[in-house]
């Protein structure tokens, strides 16, 4: 189920809220869990079984880790089992086809012929949001192991944490430690509910008015025939994609945070105006914060972080970003995207804080960082390297020689599209981020939220089905 859909807004949400608030305190988590399973099962009812298995395993591991008198070895077994099972599920459903395909290609390239693997391994479908909930579920046992959290009171509380529909399929990745106290007790207030739906309304409007129109510009650019894309159209296309993915994902986070707030939870923020970053290092402190901090705490630091000398630090940065890229999707383009970001992180660290670059004016640094990010988005968006290189070629003037290029660029340069782009530019660089806008929640902002909700619904019907981009990961 998609937040920006008729079924969610007008059937699921009212029903979920009614059942949640009508349930007695002791049953609220059960009700939230059941509704979350309905929400998740809407894509494919069988996927809920997978989530349930993952939840059972991690709950069991948590029990093992926190059992009275548990030895260090027992705890280690618990956390290892949890990590291996979650990564195993992820590996099978997300990376198996990729691995088999690449092994097969390598084998053919080496002249060894076809690798005898069952055919179905090539066609495993990816359960929606699996990358998010396996990470969340795994964080429970890791946090317990590290002593960063207390165990869930019962299985339902834990299942509620893993499956919670507001952030289940596209984050923010809520680590167990950050909501453990809220699972035990949290406040339900009228003011909190209002703050929640106002945040939801703003997020919804961001998706409908900013992200989706940008997608409509980016899509034909990436689908353009070889030679069919002029340099200005290519830059417009990638800029539109950069806005699309930012507003799409941050809209989802706004809606998730708002929905969480409506049922009393406070989820961590996931974005902090990433395109205002003056370096790639800063970008990763502002973009998809819940993923970057997860990777930092559970991967980069255990690898040694920056404590084992420069070379090891650079290696760690690169490795973490490669894995971060692969986390997004089992495709070499994502690995490339991660590699460029990792390389840039290492390069910036190598240059140090007193480099020539750091003495440039802020606006120039923001501009340079944005251009680097744009180039990396090409790999993120492209279906394969061929499309990515062709697109990059077009950006730098090696396209646009086909007669149809004029047709596409003429279509894309319509005034309405420029208005959309300029609005996105203004919202990105001139306005504060949504939590800041809603920091002081005045009646006017709540009413504005209502207006945005109503108009967004009208545009939602007009735009048709338009799922969130991060559902794919």
């Amino acid at each position: 189920m998609v937040f920006s859909s008729h079924i969610f807004l007008f059937y699921f949400l009212p029903l979920a809220l009614a059942l949640y608030y009508l349930s007695p305190k002791g049953l609220k988590h059960l009700m939230l869990t059941l509704m979350s399973y309905v929400f998740y099962g809407w894509w494919n009812p069988w996927f809920t079984l997978l989530m349930l298995v993952s939840t059972f395993i991690d709950y069991g591991c948590g029990k093992l880790i926190t059992a009275p008198g548990a030895t260090a070895r027992q705890k280690k077994v618990g956390v290892t089992l949890s990590v291996l099972s979650n990564l195993g599920i992820l590996a099978f459903f997300k990376y198996c086809s990729f691995a088999v395909t690449n092994i097969s290609l390598l084998s053919q390239w080496l002249g060894w012929g076809e690798v005898p693997v069952p055919d179905f391994l090539y066609y495993i479908v990816l359960p929606v949001g699996i990358s998010f909930y396996t990470f969340q579920s795994m964080s429970y046992s890791i946090d317990l192991y590290r002593g960063h959290a207390v165990p869930a009171k019962n299985f339902i509380d834990f299942a509620c944490y893993v499956s919670m529909f507001p952030q289940l399929v596209a984050g923010p990745i809520v680590r167990y430690g950050s909501v453990a106290d809220q699972l035990q007790s949290r406040e339900h207030t009228v003011e909190g509910f209002v703050a929640g739906f106002t945040r939801f309304n703003f997020g919804f409007a961001k998706k409908i008015f900013l992200a989706n129109p940008m997608g409509a510009i980016a899509d034909p650019c990436f689908a353009a025939v070889d030679g069919g894309l002029t340099a200005p159209a290519a830059w417009l296309g990638i800029m539109a994609y950069a806005f699309q993915i930012y507003f799409d994902f941050s809209a989802y986070s706004d809606m998730a945070i708002g929905l969480g707030r409506m049922v009393g939870f406070r989820f961590p923020e996931n974005f902090n105006s990433p395109y205002k970053s003056k370096s790639i290092t800063e970008f990763w402190r502002r973009w998809h914060i819940s993923l970057s901090s997860f990777l930092r705490d559970y991967l980069y630091i255990p690898l040694g972080g920056n404590r084992r000398g420069n070379a090891r630090t650079y290696f760690n940065l690169l490795l973490v970003m490669l894995i971060g890229g692969l986390w997004h999707g089992a495709q070499w383009t994502f690995v490339m995207w991660g590699a460029i970001h990792g390389g840039m992180l290492a390069f910036e660290r190598m240059m140090g804080k007193d480099s020539f670059y750091s003495r440039l004016p802020n606006a120039v640094r923001v501009g340079i960082t944005f251009i680097i990010v744009l180039i990396t988005w090409v790999f993120f968006r492209a279906e394969n390297f061929e499309v990515a290189t062709r697109y990059l070629g077009a950006m730098f003037g090696l396209g646009g020689d086909a007669p149809v290029a004029g047709l596409l660029s003429g279509y894309l340069m319509r005034p309405i599209d420029w208005i959309y782009v300029l609005v996105c530019v203004g919202v990105t660089w001139a306005l504060p981020r949504s939590p800041e806008v809603l920091e002081k929640l005045t009646p006017l902002k709540v009413v504005l939220g209502f207006v945005l909700l109503v108009t967004s619904v009208m545009f939602m019907y007009w735009q048709g089905f338009n799922p969130f981009l991060y559902f794919q990961f």
Partner: protein
């Protein structure tokens, strides 16, 4: 370990807000929000519940959710990728049921009204089209699929796959190998394939989208000519009309209707002449005996255009005026319609709505006050096939389906008895060139499907087909559904009405004489984009059918038929049906 612990990740923790309104006002806001998300569906479902027709009970939307399909049921909508999800997609019916329920819920009146009102303003004030229509300059409208076909991957390069694409999307086949195989099948039967890809509007009028004059017209996809060459190499004769269209434009003719995807009547007639000239030049043409002495009747007709229809405006005439065309209706001696029953003609025309636009009254050029539903479906007689027949002085066998030019029409022809097929000299296949150019994603959106077809090996004896004179309603029988064709989502098709096919195993013949044991049936899939009760036929279930010969339902012959079954008997049309419990 303590039982409570503070959040260790507070550095990126939850945002605290400062509330600037009273508790009471907060309650008012909550009530407004809840009203906004509950009242619209509540009002819709209550009004539906009160308006239920007791004679034809149907469920209101929320109850439909629990009306699960049986485990034997086939997917209602088009077949998905069969190999995409062997592990997890074990219950496609349930999943599709949920999706169908969601679609049903989205059909709420308030959703449609919102969309249409908004479209009216967006079109009027901002010049915005929608997902199907691009608004060009000076009142020109363009079908988005035609634009996508021209600027996208094209016919030779398969669109790359990616993990980010829906794994359950319908299987896509490239047109080139499919057409090559079709040409080979025809060649084996001694038939020549003449392909007439009709140029699409942006190829001739690109400046009406881009605002810039194009140095060299027609504007072709970079691979278009290479594609035609590859077809020629495979023995397919390709008549590319693009250059002729440009000449017409340069001569001051309007080549396409401004508000419609199709050509003007004059362009169509010129195209018919060009194709006829080519056909007359074929070596076998001299052997054919002219059997048509056509008469021509001229009439002025007007139509708002299918693209205006696709904009789905509540008040289209506030923004658009109908376009007038002078059409020439062709009839045989005595005024009989041409091409309606010429199943023994040596020439066959396969085609999509470009063939139909001035023949099928459903496409807008019907005379006003056409009378009954049956009358309003009778053909106009001014289409491409009639004009080609006139030029050749030959009656033609036609297989035409709006939106089905790629596969449905070939399927229809392939079902003809083998001895009848082998009597043909040539197949003239007229279809929008966008069907050839579209790649997987935009092709899927435009419901274009390329599939191989299987030719029938049935031999027909020289006797009238079916019991042509059987009065309607006299054959009533029960039958169990063996298989059924899938149907597209009516909201996604360029046509409003469609039929589909099913094969049944006959149980008891209750009225009339019926000799077949496993007949092929045609049923209504949707009318005016609304699924009909007959669309829900489920494999394995038994129904009572009232049948009439398909050949007697000539008024339905131009409709799109979803028929992916390899059943080669003469079809029957289902007038009525009810489930036998």
């Amino acid at each position: 370990m303590s039982t409570e612990m503070k959040n260790p990740y507070d550095e990126h923790g939850a945002h605290l807000d400062e509330i600037k309104f009273s508790h009471r006002l907060g309650w008012v806001f909550v009530i407004v929000f809840l009203a906004l998300i509950t009242l619209p569906p509540l009002v819709r479902n209550l009004s539906e519940a009160f308006n239920l027709d007791p004679a034809e009970p149907k469920w209101i939307a929320p109850v439909k959710l629990f009306d699960f399909p049986s485990s034997e049921a086939e997917d209602l909508f088009l077949k998905k990728k069969s190999n995409s999800s062997r592990i997890t997609r074990t219950s496609p019916s349930l999943r599709d049921h949920l999706q169908a329920f969601e679609k049903g819920a989205e059909e709420a009146d308030f959703a449609g009204i919102s969309r249409r009102v908004l479209q009216q303003e967006l079109t009027g004030f901002l010049g915005e089209g929608n997902q199907k229509v691009i608004l060009g300059k000076d009142g020109w409208l363009f079908y988005r699929a035609a634009f996508d076909g021209l600027t996208g991957y094209g016919p030779l390069n398969a669109e790359p796959d990616a993990v980010t694409k829906d794994p359950d999307r319908a299987e896509w086949y490239q047109p080139l190998p499919v057409i090559r195989r079709f040409a080979k099948q025809l060649e084996e039967r001694g038939i020549e394939l003449i392909l007439v890809p009709v140029p699409v509007k942006p190829m001739i009028y690109p400046e009406e989208i881009s605002g810039k004059e194009v140095a060299e017209l027609p504007l072709r996809h970079p691979d278009q000519l290479k594609f035609y060459e590859a077809l020629e190499e495979a023995g397919v004769r390709v008549i590319d009309l693009s250059d002729s269209f440009v000449k017409l434009k340069e001569a001051g003719e309007q080549v396409f209707l401004k508000q419609d995807t199709h050509w003007t009547a004059a362009t169509m007639q010129a195209a018919a002449k060009e194709v006829a000239a080519y056909v007359k030049g074929r070596p076998w043409f001299g052997e054919l005996q002219p059997d048509l002495n056509p008469t021509v009747q001229t009439a002025g007709r007007e139509n708002l255009g299918d693209l205006v229809g696709m904009l789905d405006l509540p008040e289209p005439r506030r923004l658009y005026e109908p376009e007038t065309q002078t059409i020439e209706m062709i009839s045989a001696d005595g005024g009989a319609a041409v091409t309606s029953s010429a199943s023994k003609s040596p020439l066959v025309v396969l085609g999509d709505s470009f063939v139909n636009v001035y023949d099928d009254p459903g496409l807008g050029f019907a005379p006003e006050n056409s009378g009954s539903e049956e009358e309003s479906r009778s053909s106009i007689g001014a289409g491409f096939a009639q004009h080609l027949a006139k030029e050749l002085s030959l009656e033609l066998e036609t297989h035409v389906a709006n939106g089905g030019g790629a596969t449905a029409v070939r399927q229809s022809f392939a079902k003809r008895p083998d001895n009848r097929v082998r009597e043909k000299k040539a197949v003239i296949w007229v279809l929008a060139s966008r069907d050839l150019l579209l790649s997987e994603t935009p092709g899927g959106k435009a419901s274009v499907q390329w599939r191989d077809v299987t030719f029938s090996d049935r031999i027909e004896e020289d006797k009238p087909e079916q019991t042509l004179n059987a009065p309607a309603g006299t054959i009533t029988l029960t039958g169990t559904v063996l298989e059924r064709s899938s149907i597209p989502d009516p909201k996604s098709t360029p046509y409003e009405d469609a039929l589909y096919s099913a094969q049944i195993k006959v149980g008891t013949v209750e009225a009339g004489k019926f000799g077949e044991t496993e007949p092929l049936l045609y049923l209504w899939a949707f009318k005016k984009r609304t699924l009909q009760p007959t669309a829900n036929l489920e494999a394995g279930k038994t129904y009572r059918f009232t049948l009439v010969p398909w050949s007697s339902k000539t008024e339905l012959h131009t409709l799109t038929k979803q028929d992916d079954l390899t059943v080669f008997t003469d079809p029957w049309f289902v007038e009525k049906m009810e489930e036998v419990k």
